[in-house]
Symmetry: C2
Amino acid sequence: MTGRDGGAPLAPIGNAPVVILVRPQLADNIGACARAMANGGLFHLRLVAPRDGWPQEKAWRMASGADRILDAATVHADVAGAVADLHHVLATCPRPRHIIKPLLTARGAAAELHAICARDLRAGLLFGPERAGLDNDDMARADALVRYPLNPDFLSLNLAQAVMVMAYEWWMAADDTPARALMTNETRVATKAELDNFLTHLTDQLDACGFLRNLPKRPGMVRNIRHLFERGEVTEQELRTLHGIVTELAAGRRQFGREEGG
Amino acid sequence: MTGRDGGAPLAPIGNAPVVILVRPQLADNIGACARAMANGGLFHLRLVAPRDGWPQEKAWRMASGADRILDAATVHADVAGAVADLHHVLATCPRPRHIIKPLLTARGAAAELHAICARDLRAGLLFGPERAGLDNDDMARADALVRYPLNPDFLSLNLAQAVMVMAYEWWMAADDTPARALMTNETRVATKAELDNFLTHLTDQLDACGFLRNLPKRPGMVRNIRHLFERGEVTEQELRTLHGIVTELAAGRRQFGREEGG
């Protein structure tokens, strides 16, 4: 702890996994990891034997306001000490070696961590040092390994990016945002009657100006215009704008017609 | 292009979306974005009016080998030019303002992008500048906006982290790695007969040493031991190790017994 009181008003959210950075080398990365944890709603950070000691100002500078995560971070001499009070430990590992261990995707790990935390057990996520990754003894202490499905031709993942993916999946595992929705803000999606009303207005003006004078083709042309406007969810506000456009265009045409005739 | 030929042998993978960084400020971030794109199997990078010009050495230093993405990056004066040849554009936007637009999650966007690219249409993903984000005119050019579900109390996302999440979801949308699997490497999961064989060996030795001498409790104790070993998928290699452990412990006991008696 450093006694600071800056940054965003972050606090633990429910029973969430502890992030354990094992022998991290760069304070910059520790700060960036804290920022990524905050993005995903994680709070508890443990550092195992940080190479350059702790605390370090550079970490706070890189945390972009996730100060309270760094303020509350604890330092441990080894992995055994950092996981001693936990019930379940997952170890991230991009290239698992010849060991026998359950292997999870990040998404699978997030789902299992939610299930574990919902049982009031304490869980932890181990992340290895920037270059070497976790060693075999570290991995032996984990219940399971986590390997992110990523481009096998380019697995070099920055430490904070690795934390970001896990934090994001942790958040997503409890999120129910619809995959697609129309953001309408102050207005709302128009009803079919409102859309019909506009299409009638438009068709009347198109009849008046002669655009639909080919009577055998008229039903198909009207239908094609309808297809276009039915494709997306048109809002009530947009229909009012479209009514105005049609009215003004028609008025302009009439005026232009008068001028032409004058 | 800089004519370099270093880094990982990256190349485009199928028809994948173009990443468009709009008015990026820091070359470091452009390099980190290229690295994240490589992680997720994206290749095509476009830069709209990069603040400090292009190319810049710092970007290559931060790309950790994703050089070819930077080598092939193109520079455009404005968003209109950068999206001119595309059929579909999504714009990432953490805090959408008062506009009417479809809003996707990163996961929803990845699924839609795969569907669009499978139709041989060209898609692009807009990312705004580090601090300000995309402006209203940029967003008006997009078919839909993308907002990542993340901790609403801490939405400050580094540019490369934003690209990482989208690149990861792009990769995941086509990935079929099982959420959990036992990594067995050279060995395999033991059959029930192999496990029975070990449990018989163990039980025989526990009978011999007197551990199971309480005959009314014996069936329950044997069953509890079975519960433990049935819980995880024990491998054939691990069973051989367990056979060895039981044999050696029993032999040691007998020897110890002899020494005691001698």
